[in-house]
Symmetry: none
Subunit: 410 residues, 2 copies
């Protein structure tokens, strides 16, 4: 079964707006074991919309179209569907009364433009809009079931849930299950090499790898045609085999960000943390404090951008900076020790490096970052040269620091 | 002329990911006076991709396809295009050498999987990928010009700029001009009220308001079919009238972020800054240090999440916290003064508040934030109650603090 989501609206073809309704609709379709095959965006343009509708009638069993049902002149979805299907638009006094009542409740006269919303496509079923004036429509043409839905999410979602969902439930193809495995500390090709041979070949089981600097995600998706519970079992099984290959490099299997995982571990072990940042410039503290409840374990962060701040706030010996440079293993360690002692925390985490684009040398290039983790009785230091631009280098340096702490806590 | 953007990737048909490349491509096409007619998303699925390619060959003059050129088994874009067009895939030793050299530079052996990236569609022109292994392709089939581009933005953008943009420039339909006016310190409806009557009614001139918590953007776009220079004149004129209505609330007309504007002003006035953050948790420092060269004026940041840290690091009197609470005008001022004196900077900027979702009370609700700016001889304090979730409250609090400093420096 092929399902298409068609978003109609010229603003969705500008650089400024994106359709987000389709993400919601996809989730609900996935809940029925149904997958979306096509997503299309088209403007409020008769000729282009006509092309899209004709194509969908050929290749889609279900077409969820949204947008362009409003009262203004550029809202033409209803009209172009009627034209493409060769059906009449029929005036529906009941709909008009409902729209009128809606305006009356707000003590407003019904604008003339809204009258066109009372016309429906011949042979279609009206989907009441309890949150706006544009009614939705449900119709069938050949093999294709079509829903016309209003564009505003606050109107689309309740209408979909009440009227479209029960119709689609009849096509329930099965039951699905999904899992996201997140990995830090490996490159995309290292992940691929490790899980090679695990790519599922059977129908109804999918694996996708998504890579970004500092983080790799493996998306697993399974569905089965019956209520056997097989998808969950398959995901569990495939997930287990992947975890065996990737071990401690996996930091999350339930959607959490790395900072949430680290926060959870700190809470679990009743440990506290203070951080000292140079090139990451506050991003490490920002990520840690994005987690609600982080004040329980995050005591403070010091962004010691200048050498004087490193010396004054973190007790980094001036000679250390002179002998090794501010970007060095020695200074990273002194920063981690210093912030831990100052804050009286269990752990100190420090980052010093060159985020670029300027400031690099042949010996110490842009991207060079030292991360240090200090605890009572020990210290870990890791040297990396991260690729990418300033913000990517900042992100990767915080990812590495968080992952050091995560691995230590395990 | 009809242009279609086709994004290939099964992850783009899940509830989790959206194509964002198309926004960038649309912007660049608009710069040539070209508009996008269709955006399509399809999975890494032979049958569905075939349908999309066939449809595009019928109705599109230009097809920009992206994604699915990688080395893994689910990357099938190149192969399905060849199949649909009835063309052979031809092995290209030069491409293989370049990919191999790429791996060699990183001291890695070339994985067997990458060999398939050296195959090109017969009759196509290779678009070199200077930022990854997947080469792009340019080909023509009937009336349709086709570009196959890699999915990762860091690879797609430079390839598009260097190789595809010059080809599309031949279809230039006109000349456009664009301006973004960024505003802090007003709500969307305040902006709308102030600029009411300025909405352009003429063809080829557009105004769009984009609102997000803490920042309003007015996008101006003008277009003319000839090289008269009219779009730039119209934008300049409309922009001027908008600036007159909005005055000092506008912080940028050339695309800069607020932190860049503030950084530029600090540099211009040869002043230095230190910041003390509580509820913003490092985001203010992170934003300031996202600006290259910020080490010239940003001396340090202290994220004093705990009361002890406020007392110890910022010399906030303990009695002040006991009498007024950590979230108070008095403590905000003491934090700003304290960090300025400690760092020996010209300005001290401080934020203390309740980012939520927990920790609010009837008297001090979630979203309550005090921002303070301290300089030798004075202090400004502003109280806000920001709407939204934790991350939105954090962002708005940093926006307010940066804007205080900007207004002071003007």
């Amino acid at each position: 079964m092929k399902i298409e989501i068609l978003a109609v609206g010229s603003e969705l073809l500008t650089p400024f707006y994106q359709d987000t309704n389709s993400l919601y609709l996809t989730q609900r379709l996935n809940d029925l074991g149904l997958e979306v095959s096509f997503k299309t965006v088209v403007g409020d343009d008769r000729e282009s919309l006509l092309v899209c509708i004709k194509n969908a009638l050929v290749h889609a069993d279900v077409l969820l179209a949204m947008g362009g049902l409003g009262p203004t002149a550029d809202d033409i979805t209803r009209e172009v569907f009627a034209e493409t299907l060769g059906r009449q638009l029929v005036y529906c006094p009941d709909i008009f009364k409902k729209i009128e009542a809606r305006f009356r409740r707000r003590a407003l006269a019904i604008p003339a433009a809204n009258k066109k919303q009372a016309y429906i496509i011949q042979g279609s079923e009206v989907l009441e809009n309890k949150n706006g004036t544009a009614p939705g429509l449900w119709l069938e043409e050949g093999r294709t079931r079509i829903a016309l839905l209003p564009g505003p999410p606050a109107e689309l979602k309740p209408m979909f849930e009440e009227f479209v969902w029960p119709k689609l439930a009849a096509f329930q193809k099965g039951f699905s299950s999904r899992r996201v495995i997140k990995i830090a500390g490996l490159t995309e090709s290292e992940v691929e090499t490790r899980i090679s041979g695990l790519y599922p070949k059977e129908q109804g089981l999918g694996l996708t790898i998504l890579a970004s600097p500092g983080q790799i995600e493996i998306q697993l998706y399974a569905f089965a045609p019956d209520a056997s519970g097989l998808p969950a079992i398959k995901i569990e099984d495939l997930g287990q085999r992947i975890l065996e290959r990737l071990g401690g490099h996996v930091f999350s299997t339930a959607g959490e960000e790395l900072e949430e995982v680290v926060g959870g571990l700190l809470g679990e072990h009743r440990k506290t943390l203070a951080v000292a940042e140079s090139c990451s410039g506050g991003l490490l503290s920002h990520r840690l404090t994005n987690v609600s409840g982080s004040s329980k374990y995050f005591l403070e962060g010091l962004i010691t951008y200048s050498n004087q701040a490193k010396i004054r706030d973190l007790n980094v010996p001036e000679a250390l900076i002179q002998n090794h440079g501010a970007v060095s293993a020695e200074v990273a360690q002194a920063m981690a020790d210093g912030v831990r002692q100052k804050a009286g925390s269990n752990f100190g985490l420090a980052i010093t490096g060159i985020a670029g684009p300027t400031g690099g040398t042949a010996e110490k290039p842009v991207g060079l970052v030292y991360s240090a983790l200090s605890w009572e009785g020990g210290v870990d230091i890791i040297k990396n040269v991260f690729p990418g631009k300033r913000e990517q280098i900042k992100f990767q340096s915080t990812q590495k620091a968080l992952d050091m702490l995560r691995r230590h806590l395990l």
